[in-house]
Symmetry: none
Subunit: 216 residues, 4 copies
């Protein structure tokens, strides 16, 4: 087993606590205690609580965007398949580190200088990439013509929802947004959404799914 460095221990502890209690609700002493390291090391290694926090968020967005862009460069039979592939990749990435994902998405609901900066760098790019894809599909006739903005908003809402409302899903539907099982099920739903909504395909027969039959 690989030994965790002090920095890693601190990052891990911080993620857990920020996720549960939020940034302002978490003290550096909490973090240090959970990580079993000296309190002063947070300032030493990250330049303070805020620095640690921002490092986590920025790292998340860097990786998130990298996945989005590299997925979009892959080849695919159709734009529809490409889109579904991208969606799945983003869900899986978030699922893999769902604590950070939840922390980040909640942070983005606040109105702060940091949030505005993150918006104008990462989310602007994300929006641009989605736009390109959707517009190409519309031009090529694969996607139905409709307001692009609302499509993207709708799409993004559904991609982030499991990490913005994990407790709602868990408490009321016994769904764990961080388990692979959930992604498979959720992808079914999203696939249907892409087919009917975006491509305008007529469903010739009633809904059928071995997996989710019991939920009807």
């Amino acid at each position: 087993m690989k030994k965790e460095t002090t920095k890693e221990k601190m990052l891990d502890a911080a993620i857990r606590l920020f996720h549960t209690q939020g940034y302002a609700g978490t003290s550096v002493r909490d973090i240090a205690q959970k990580a079993n390291v000296n309190v002063a090391l947070i300032s030493y290694h990250f330049g303070g609580k805020k620095g640690l926090y921002e490092q986590l968020i920025i790292q998340f967005f860097e990786d998130y965007l990298h996945i989005l862009e590299s997925e979009l460069q892959k080849e695919s039979e159709s734009l529809k398949d490409l889109l579904l592939q991208v969606i799945r990749a983003l869900l899986e990435y978030q699922s893999k580190q769902y604590l950070v994902a939840r922390m980040v998405h909640r942070e983005m609901t606040l109105d702060s200088v940091l949030v505005r900066e993150l918006m104008s760098t990462y989310l602007r790019k994300e929006k641009h990439e989605f736009e390109q894809l959707i517009k190409r599909g519309m031009t090529g006739g694969e996607f139905q013509r409709q307001p692009v903005d609302y499509v993207i908003i709708h799409l993004r809402t559904m991609i982030t929802m499991p990490y913005l409302s994990p407790h709602y899903l868990r408490e009321l539907y016994q769904l764990s947004s961080n388990e692979p099982y959930f992604i498979d099920r959720y992808m079914e739903h999203l696939t249907r959404w892409v087919h009917t909504w975006l491509c305008g395909e007529v469903k010739s027969q009633p809904y059928q799914s071995s997996l989710s039959a019991q939920l009807i």
Copy 2:
């Protein structure tokens, strides 16, 4: 001009600050200063910061549920129209006091004792009401058969989205979730969603809208 009572001044100030900085990020001194009242009065009137906070949240949910339930008792031509009427009412209610709405929805993304209590009282009821409506529609053939849970999750996600991601909408799409204009536009989108997704109506012709034509 009506004079604001001390309690009202405090509530107003608290809403603004909780909305901007979150609960833990707001101090009672901030609130008292913004409300221009003595700090000790927060403990006196609300039994402390937490009491003030909970009062705001509970009041929101009480009203929210009341609207949901009273709308559901109204008569309507079809369940589809009833559903759309409910959606609009909930959007309008949240829009009317969007600061509280944003505060509440963000709070629900945390994991605390309070959240779990709110879930099991208010959101459980909300889920139940939606379930009744959807299931009735499916039984009667008005709605397509599909997993009810995912429909509700999808529905609720779209109803709360404008108040969970207001800054995203504003920064990247110049959309203000608290303006009546937005609700009209957003309802168009949701109406289409209900028609195609829930009712399975085939769109015989390309998307047409005088309002949003320029967005295509």
Copy 3:
């Protein structure tokens, strides 16, 4: 006996500690402990350690300048007597609160924003008042003509010396700058200085003083 208010207790304790250990060498806990009050009250009443410090210094200079100006407006037989009267008044004022005086004069040897501000407000005025007096004496023939600046520097140096070098005086000469006895003795010296140096009076006979005879 009059009861000391909390603010007064804090000011007293702060003076003693700042005097002994300097500003940076004194902690707010030291002050609070010595004053027997809660630490938080320093921030509450003075807006922090720095605020308390500055209040002490500014108060000193305000009073110092007030004494200087009011003494200068008194009537006197000669400018020489007026000057000596002013010197004595300033020495007595400093002696009365010698702890603050020492603290302030030491602070003025540092180079900080605060010091520059104090210089350009209080010490500039002090310089101006001295200048007026000296120049009047020179014009009237009472004082010998010589570089005014150096006279003032010399004068001020001697007025502040007992409070800048109290430990030197105490350790090596057993002189206590805060005792009335010292002022009388020191005034003898300064009187001679004013007579011979400023007025150019010839000393017709060897030095005679009942008080200081033993020191020859």
Copy 4:
């Protein structure tokens, strides 16, 4: 170009910072950063912050006293000239390393164990040397009889003044105590002081100086 050793770099940085912010107001990290060396080296080379500090002060006094004593052993026409020669030598020494001089003289205004030790070793010797000189002059009739102690205090005050109040001189009189020009001008003043005060010479004519005429 000569390369500065690590120890020298640290000493230089320390002098600058102690001079500006005082001992307690300067952190070892400040020093290490300014010197561009590792923090731990301060403890390694000097046994800690205090060690570094004391080394600077003791070095200053050692040199100071050495100059005083060696100047006093030189031959001179008169004691008056010898005294003036000593004064100039001490001013020049302090001027050469005015940062340390200022730091040391300010430190001596505090009340600490270190200060008392320095007093009883170096300043006691300084006092003794001055005493010898003055008393010899009085016995020989060259100096006027008067209280020796006050003469020495007065003398020492004027020798240290430029390094105790450099900012006062700079801000209000545009005088730089560390420039050779200043010493020349200041020596004029001190020479006059020695002549009139100590030797009791009658000034037969008004003050005349090509250098300072404009200051009258």
